[in-house]
Symmetry: T
Subunit: 144 residues, 12 copies
């Protein structure tokens, strides 16, 4: 199993900012945890972070030839990016949308996601474990 | 770890109806899977299904003295029940909301949940695995 | 032909309350009329009334193995119950939604029905005759 | 009993177009069925079809001196015509609104009717039988 | 001064229907009153009534070469006709919109007029006198 | 006939400001014209202007014992004052709402009036003539 | 005077949960206070609590033959239950709606009540005293 | 205990206008009743009425140094005054909002109050007794 | 290739009115241009203009047996006609919607089209060239 | 340069109330600071505070003959006063709208200003410095 | 004539993904077709594709000194980019917006375009031919 | 004091485009003015412009270790970027939002800012002086 994990804008700042909302783990720690968990699940993991919507679109496009599953935390673009939605809709493999915080318990505008309707499933609110759960879900999807 | 799993209305019909949306597993099979997974996680699991909003409210209230985590699939009451929300908000242990289907990819009215803002996290779209992931997430929450 | 007729909340009070809106026939009189009309149409009729949303959901579920058509007056739950809608959507036989009063000519919130989109047809505004017309329609549906 | 049956725009095309939505009966067949059913109910039936909103308004106005009941399928004008609503509101006899398809299960804009609040009752979703049921309902209204 | 007075749908029924809302004068009486008042103001008056939106559009178009002012009671088309609005917007002479009843005190949908933004002024709620006041206003507009 | 004419906020500035919208007549000129027209109609006229919502409420209250008709240009309070609406609703004599400009052709928020639903009629868009037409309408109302 | 006091969902948990919102009195203490206050006012008091919407509907229906006034705290069903509203609307005696907390100062969805339009009056925000005030109000209503 | 009772616009007209909505008591009678009830509760009462929003703001501001509780019936300003809300929000003593009629059962715009979110509690629909209940509630608040 | 070109209301006035919005070509000139362009594309062209919604519905219906493509400028009916939409939806050949002006850059109500969702494509804003482009597009569609 | 500074409702209470939102400076201190800053900029400053909407309207009107710039903190009337907007729109000199707090970061209703569309610029969120910045901006506007 | 053709996000994937919506031509084939068509029209064509909103803004800015017309398919940014709209609004040459699919017949959010109000015209729904038609339209615009 | 000034999309085109809205100063001139004003205030100024949302997010993130205040003109991203909002919300130093034009007086969509709720203050409408005022405000914030 090959899984591409895409991290959206501001996630490069994890750990040092607003830890009460986003947790105290850095993105490097999350990526390390994902590689470790991936090893346990015999999955190859690639990770990619960008603040740029266009670069994220390109990353999703390039998942097409390689990944069996896409895990994406679209962060701020969740609520505003049709371009990212279109890229995911065009992807022939399933996509899992994750959020560190429970986005449904925050500002109203965070309750709407352009991504969810084209995702296979959504996991929100478990901090870094949201990614871990997504990886376990991915393994199940691929094994089906 | 003790986990109460509450199943909302119509979930007693799982497996025989609309399997393209809700999967082909029956509720008994899901409960059996949960007990098995619970055993693996050294967790005690109780499950409860009801079609009645009031009975679900009472079930959630009774979780207070026993459970460390509540896992609930509120089904049709997700979108209409303030009473269930109030019961969950009053619960001193964390609640995980699960859905079999990806509710964000269906009718518009299914995109609003009264429950999500008072839940710790939400898992949606992985069929019976949504429950399994919730159980794993519950174990992590309790171990923190 | 076997027809289950389900009456929603407050319909047990028919005849004695607000007769200018709901007519002066009691529910027993309506049920008697339905049995009589059923006999004329060579149809077996069962009727069920409940004030409880959950009990109505269960009644609809149980129609699955027995009825050829479901006739339901969801009354106050018309406008608020996703659970009832989901139960009807899962039913393999056609459902006819009836209302005694013309719900479209009353308060704004009565113009929206969660049930109508999953019903085969809707009959509204003919008093007790709404049920009678539904029974005739049911016979036609079954004969097709 | 004298009943005017008014058919709105595009109903002249019935039978040859989109039979999966509107059924395979032509308007002539429906009118013949209505005359036959009328004979059975000892009712005199007149039918009128027009694509023109103004002509339909005039037809409704002329029902005043002759008909005991108006049965109207306003079709596309259901959702847009205040003029037709005003004509019906001014009519001293009861009006029954009918639709071949279940308009509540289609596009959102079809869920709002300018006509329903001034109708006595509404019958929707039974194909050509919607008219037949309306005729039976009309007979009951006149006999009251 | 030459004034075209255009009466919209259902106004041909004035006097005999809903006199509590629209007054007891017939359209003929209103037209006679307008001619009389016109004579007093040395104005030539032409009147036209139609139930058809298209015919009203044509009538407004033909005002261009003859009338100095258009007085129009668009009735039910007030709230639904962009075609009529476009015809009036294209007219090089001023238009006065009149209503017999006070449309702002009735159903919500009557509070929005497609016509008002392209009219010079609006007079609403004075029964047949709404027309008379419009004629006086027209005379003042032409004399300016 | 006794008529109270109430002018709302900023109307004391008429003539010197934004004459393209509100005309070039001063409020004194309009009041003089009203007295003159009143004399012609054998009507006694009183006028009152205030920028204060509370003072306008009081002025409307005091119309009760004296005036046969109230003519009011509520200006900016048209769109925001429930207090003024309540005062007018309590008045036992008819109220005519006037506007110098055509308020329906300006900003969206000017299309909603709290006053219109409790007025007898509305005249909008004829400049100072709006008042004159209201006075003529008032005479007709009193004579009925 | 006979007063039925109906307590809605989750009120059985009063005193032990979220005392900063709902106060520290248990439901038993509130009921005892109501009986005591009732004795002072020479009123017979019955109380009923249920988490079930249907059971509350039935309780309200049964007030018809016995109570002079209904006092109801619909709790979570305030905002979602048309069935409860219909039951109250059908009750021939006045209903007083009470809330422990000031519902207008909380989440947006709590500002809308299906019950208020069919209640005689509403008392909100005084903790257990909301019930006491309702009882005093009830005594005044009955004495009128 | 010292209580300031503030009466909003049009309440000076109580008793003589629309007694079916607002009751037949004059404001003087209500004030007298309040003084009497105040004496019974050993409370000092001051009352103030104004039609002016600004004067009401000032009256609320001046409550700061004197009153233990503010009782206010904001009448028409309930729905439109942010200034009054800000004055109340700044007051260090609790505020009770009262209405004579049940505002939730009237026009839609009366269902929204700018005042309620900054009030301690709301009492609506009991006529002059709304004030009396507020006084009793005030005594309880001060005694806590 | 046979193409029916249908022109909606007010388009008969082209050239003489509001040329800054709609251009200076008359409808006759546009039709001549279309015939010429049709000749170039070896296409047979018929054109039809009407101010009447019903007549346009009929024209569209009659395209069924003759035309390979329908080109329609629905003008004012674009935004208000469900009847026209239904006629087009029933047509077995593709429809191209054209507008002379860029309707998306004008009033808000012109941004919504009932026609677009049932059209094959839309061309807006190129004056008389909108028709020419549509004809070229039609030729391509037929050749596919 | 002559600048009129107008302070809206409740600003007379500055310094003693809610200093966490509005700062600890009194209005006298702000006015003194403005005079001092004015002296530095060689500007003549007049200040005016009122709780009354009407008095503020009048104050703005009187700025016309004297001031080169109007600085206004409309406070609670920002969100509700069309009358104040109209007064400012009629002013031939530029207006600067200021707010002590950042109104865009507070309740939703504070995000809409009737004043901003007719102001030259807006300064919000800098406490008493919002006025100082406005004075500097005013000097720049006059010097242009 | 010099024409810049700008392709938005995901259009680099044309041909291999979702050909039922977007057609089977690759972007290279479309560009080749445009060059060929350009040669026929004696137009110089440059094309540019990017997934990045910022890069598209820059591309549009750079059109200023070179192109006579801009043809842009903003794809996913159509519905979300004010930045792109501002860049186009600042461009001194006309812009033509194109879409491969008929965006008005898809999800609701695709019916709103930030670009259309600042474009000269819009062509939507003709697959790769949308570009070709735009090029023909461009040639006409330049020749005018 | 160190201040980072971030300029959003299209601001690199200042001076040459739409000078009636955005002024005639180029961005270089504004930056020079800022450096000069910074020198006067003994502040170190860095400026950064980008058309790319992602690059702006990164620029804001990098302000964290260096700047005491962030001044940002988000231009088109003001209304659409949650990513930029999140970056600013995570910044430990205050942010000042500036706009050259008065955004509240333009299109409706420009009245909503994702940035304002996380900014310390907002300055809008003073052309290049908006930046200068922000710099003065920044100096005051740092000195507090």
């Amino acid at each position: 199993m090959r899984v591409l994990v895409v991290h959206g804008p501001n996630l490069n700042m994890l750990g040092t900012r607003e830890p009460d909302i986003y947790g105290s783990k850095t993105l490097d720690q999350i990526n390390a945890m994902l590689l470790e968990e991936g090893a346990r699940l015999r999955a190859e993991i690639k990770t990619h972070q960008s603040n740029s919507e266009g670069e994220l679109v390109t990353a999703v496009q390039q998942a097409a030839g390689w990944a069996d599953v896409l895990i994406i935390n679209p962060a701020g673009y969740t609520h505003t990016s049709v371009a990212l939605r279109d890229a995911i809709a065009a992807l022939p493999v399933p996509t899992i949308e994750v959020h560190l915080s429970n986005v449904y318990a925050r500002e109203d505008f965070r309750r709407h996601s352009y991504i969810s309707p084209v995702a296979r499933g959504v996991i929100s609110g478990f901090g870094a474990d949201s990614y871990r759960l997504a990886l376990i879900a991915a393994a199940r999807l691929v094994n089906e």
